[in-house]
Structure formats: C-alpha cells, structure tokens
C-alpha cells in the first residue's frame, strides 16, 4: 500500500488580470478581473514505503506547490491526497507526527534562539523521549557536525550551518515520510557531499523521501525514481536508470591514441560512428548509437584497428535528458 497517494491533484490560484502601470492599476481598481492559473494539473502520484523519489522540473513547473499540497500546507482545488491513509490538510496534526519537511529557501529555526533551543522546542512539540532525542542528536552531530554551532543563535549561522540545523529539525521526530524542497540550494560542494551522504543513509534506513532539486547530482546520488513535472503535469515517472536507458541512446568513448588524431580520416574510415577532437591532440571522442551497436562491439573494433594507448567510457548524463524533457524534445 502506498505511503503517499495523490489522485488528480490540482491546484489553481487566482491572479489579478490587469494591464501594467498606473493606468492599469486604476482600471483594475474600478473593474476587478482575475485569471485562474493552474499550478498543478491533475497529477497522479503514488510512493511506496522506503522509496526515494526525485521530483524535478523547471522553475514554475509546480514542484513546490505539489510539496505544499502533499504536506497539507495547501488545500487541493481538486483531487485527493492521502499520506498514510490520512488527508494531510484536514488531519494536519496527526499527519504532522509522521512527516518531516525542509524548505531550503526558508528556515524553521527560531530566529532569536540558539539552535539547541529550537531542537528542544521541537522535541517537546513532537513528544520525543529524552533517550531518543539524545541518540538522534548524537547521530546528527556525527553526520552533520551539529555540535560546532548548537549554541549559536539561528540568525548568526552560515547558510550551510543553517541547512544542516534545519535538516536536524525536520528529522528530530524520526518521520516516516520526508519532503525536502531544494535542500542543497546555495551550499558549497563539501556541505552538499555531506548532506547527500546523510540522505543516502536515511534512505538506506527505510525512510521514504521525496526530494525536489535543481541540482541533478542530488537526484542521481540519493534517489532511485524520478518524476519530471512540467507546466503542472507529469512528463515522466519511473526509475532513473530506465530514464537513462530509454532516452540516452548516444554513448561516447574517449580514445587516447599513440600520435596526433586525424579526425577527418578517422570519420572517413569509420563512418558509422560520430567523431570529434578531444582536449589533447592525441585524444578523440567517438559517439555511437547504443541501439545499433553494443559497447563491446565498438570497443572491440576500435581497439583492434587503432590500438589506443588508453580509453574511457563517458557515463550518460541525466542532466541532458531532463533538459531535453523540459524543452519538449522528448516525449513520454
């Protein structure tokens, strides 16, 4: 049974329909008109316990609105949401015990309090026992280095520290379902790596995760399934590996030859492949269609005839696929 299920989930907002400038504002004052804007359009989504799902899409696609609908912050205009069998909006209090939420662009820390005090307030709010609280804080400290800034006021924290503290706040009650909206936004590489490692461990322990991020490395490192949303509708929903296998049909091999690479000559000799010069004079990049040739065939043929000094396979990039999905170049 899914831990989260959304059916025909729709959210519309009313926006003033007015011309720009002072004249438009005056006209709108006398004659008020509104346009209905659909942020989320009949989305169906089911997440099984323990799944880690990436929810991605371009800016304005409806990601954050969906998260707010799933967490009960917003009421759906149409459709239903059930999280562990409950309506997260009407059964807000009961739902709150089972979910953890992080919005990367905002903090839930009490601004004028030390981090430790915020965590203690949440401990009491969720009714976490002393023993569980101590154990979780120790674990967060080990994985997120919380100790160094626990006594600091929230308003004095750096962005990376604030995000780690917010993550601890979202998880202090060991929620079964965790929503993370842009958890690595604005962070440096080392903090990102640390957060991703922490999230991987969280998933390994069986926590269900829904992650939205523009950083596709977050997605590849943490999630197994990806839901691509665009203009409020689902453009793709399936395993990340399947997305790659289905859409990434062009693969690449980098060859380092003994001498300088003569790209036009090679292209003439092996017209079935694509050829391009590499970064070094002796380097050449060979591309081939994976639905026409196996990697073994390509490598076997090239190594036998060119005897390269070294070679490497380029891993397919999910970033390119998603970019093309956003651009409407690929269809479901």
């Amino acid at each position: 049974m899914p831990i989260l299920e959304a059916r025909s989930l729709t959210k519309t907002f009313r926006r003033p329909d007015k011309a720009p400038g002072f004249k438009g504002a005056l006209k709108h004052l006398a004659q008020r008109r509104y346009k209905t804007y659909t942020a989320v359009d009949a989305i169906d989504l089911a997440i099984e316990p323990g799944e880690s799902v990436a929810y991605v899409g371009p800016n304005g696609a409806g990601k954050s609105t969906t998260v707010k609908l799933l967490t009960g912050i917003l009421r759906p205009s149409e459709g239903t949401v059930r999280v562990m069998g409950r309506d997260p909006h009407t059964e807000r209090i009961a739902n709150a015990h089972d979910i953890g939420v992080l919005f990367g662009q905002r903090t839930q820390l009490w601004w004028d309090l030390p981090v430790e005090e915020s965590l203690k307030l949440l401990k009491h709010m969720y009714g976490v026992s002393d023993a569980d609280y101590k154990a979780r804080i120790a674990k967060f400290d080990e994985l997120l280095d919380l100790g160094e800034f626990m006594p600091s006021l929230a308003r004095t924290l750096s962005l990376g520290q604030r995000m780690r503290a917010d993550l601890a706040c979202a998880l202090i009650h060991a929620p079964k379902m965790v929503y993370l909206d842009e958890p690595t936004i604005g962070l440096d590489i080392s903090v990102k790596d640390r957060l991703r490692a922490f999230l991987r461990e969280l998933v390994d322990e069986g926590t269900t995760l829904l992650l939205t991020s523009h950083d596709l490395a977050d997605i590849e490192e943490v999630c197994e399934r990806i839901v691509v949303i665009d203009k409020g509708t689902v453009a793709y929903d399936g395993p990340i590996q399947q997305l790659k296998a289905h859409y990434i049909t062009t693969k690449a091999v980098n060859l380092i030859l003994e001498g300088p690479a003569d790209v036009p000559a090679l292209a003439e000799k092996f017209p079935e492949y694509g050829w391009a010069a590499g970064e070094a004079p002796s380097e050449v990049v060979v591309t081939y269609e994976s639905n026409r040739f196996t990697t073994a065939e390509v490598l076997g043929g090239l190594t036998a005839q060119l005897a390269p000094r070294d070679l490497s396979l380029s891993e397919p990039s999910i970033e390119d696929v998603i970019r093309r999905l956003y651009a409407g170049e690929l269809t479901r």
Partner: protein
C-alpha cells in the same frame, strides 16, 4: 511512532499551552543570555510610560478632575493600559508578524508541526519593550491604587482585572492582525488602529466622549473592557455589574482570535507558486 504523543486530530490544550510557555521561556532565557537590545528597548517602553505620567501630572496641576476622575484614578487607567500592552508584547508579540509571515510564506513550517498555528506564531517573538512597559505600568497602577485610597479588599479584583486586560489585549490584537491573511499586507493596520484608539481615548473616562465612541469601545471593538470598565468599577464610577463584562470580553477575544486565525489559515495560499 512509539515516542510521540498519542495525538490524533487535535492537540490537547495542556500540551499546546506547555509548548507555548516553553517557547516563551526559551526566548526569555535567550534574552538574558544575549541582552544586547534588552536595555535599549526596555528603556524605550519605560520612557513612553514616564511621559504618560508626566502628562497626567501636568494636566492635574491645572484641573482638579476630568469628568469626576482624579489624578490617581487616571493613573490607574494609564497603568492598566500599559500593563495590557506590555503583556501583549511579552506573551503574544509574534501575532504582529502575521502579515509578514503570510506574505513570505512563513506560516508553511508552522502548518507542518503538531501544534496550533496561532500559538506558534504568538510565541515566536517577544517584544523587548514589554519589560519597560510592564514595570512602569505596574508602578503607575500601584501608585494610583494607593493614591486613590483603594483598600486591600479590592486587590483580588485588581489582579483579576489585570489578567483579563492581558487576555483581551492579546486576543483583540491577534484577531485584527489575522485580517492580514486576506488583505496581504505586512503592516497590521487594523491592530495599529485599535492601539491608536486605546492610546487616544482609553486613557480618559468614557463620559468625555460622545455616545458613538462609547458604544464602539464597549460593544464593537470592546477595548473599554481592557482598562476603562474595570478601573471605573474599582473606583466606584460604574456599577459592579459591569465587571462581569470583563471576563466575558476576555473569553470573546480568545474565541474571536482563534476563529479568525482558523478562517485565515483556510484562506492561506503560501508564497512562491
């Protein structure tokens, strides 16, 4: 989850209030540990009340009474109003941030926690000026009490009036700040108007105002029950029956605040979509 309270669709009142007091206590602890702004803000609150005291002293040096009210009775009025304002700043100052929270989407996190949103917002901040307002407010109230010759028999009534004044002030301010769920303004204009009405009119006996003002302040926006009615009863200017209106108004203010906030949360559509 084994380690969470067995909460279902609502939060037990005791748990909610315990959470609220913990949040306030944590803020007070933090203020004591990091008192940088405390003295400046507390002094500002105190100075404002000293000015009120000076104004009344100057006024009563030229007139013997105002509508039959003497200097010490007027001090009781100003003192109780300051206590109510200080109590609001100490106990529910966060309500003033409702408009900003609505505009910025800062209600979001509060909707994902197992606690009443109105208590989370109200306890999210402490107005440091409250310490000065409360200190000087109590000083004026006690000085007026002694000067007016009120005996110890009235002390329970006085304490009851103070408690009700604090609740009414917090309730009405919160309800008016919650209007910002609909008008989407960072400024709590309606609450400011109420404070303005109190600052201008509720430091004087109701008898000096036309009937319309009396009706508004007693029955429409019942700010008269914060200080004017209880002080008038204690000082013998109104029948003791009027005192019943004070706890009734306090209950009304709490229900109103909770109700308007609940409706506001239904209209809340976050930010950034």
């Amino acid at each position: 989850m084994a380690d969470t309270l067995p909460l279902k669709h609502s939060v037990p009142v005791r748990h909610a209030l315990a959470m609220y007091w913990r949040a306030l206590a944590a803020q007070v602890r933090s203020i004591i540990e990091y008192p940088a702004d405390l003295w400046v803000m507390a002094s500002a609150g105190a100075v404002w009340n000293l000015l009120q005291f000076a104004f009344l002293a100057v006024l009563f040096s030229t007139v013997p009474d105002v509508e039959g009210w003497g200097f010490h009775e007027m001090l009781l009025l100003s003192g109780l109003l300051s206590i109510a304002g200080g109590a609001n700043a100490l106990l529910f100052d966060g309500a003033w941030s409702t408009g900003q929270m609505v505009i910025k989407g800062d209600i979001d996190y509060r909707l994902t926690r197992p606690a009443p949103v109105v208590l989370q917002v109200g306890s999210s901040h402490i107005g440091l000026q409250s310490f000065g307002e409360l200190l000087l407010g109590f000083a004026m109230f006690v000085y007026g009490w002694i000067g007016a010759g009120l005996g110890p028999a009235w002390i329970p009534v006085g304490l009851f009036a103070i408690a009700c004044a604090a609740v009414i002030q917090c309730g009405l301010v919160t309800a008016l700040c919650a209007v910002n769920f609909w008008i989407k303004s960072p400024m709590s204009m309606f609450a400011f108007l109420m404070i303005d009405l109190q600052g201008g009119a509720m430091k004087l006996p109701l008898g000096v105002f036309p009937a319309a003002v009396r009706v508004i302040s007693l029955f429409i926006v019942p700010v008269a029950f914060v200080n004017v009615v209880p002080v008038a009863v204690i000082a013998g200017h109104m029948s003791a029956w009027w005192l019943i209106g004070t706890p009734v108004t306090a209950l009304f203010a709490v229900v109103l605040a909770a109700g308007v906030y609940r409706l506001g949360l239904r209209a809340y559509d976050s930010a950034g979509h």
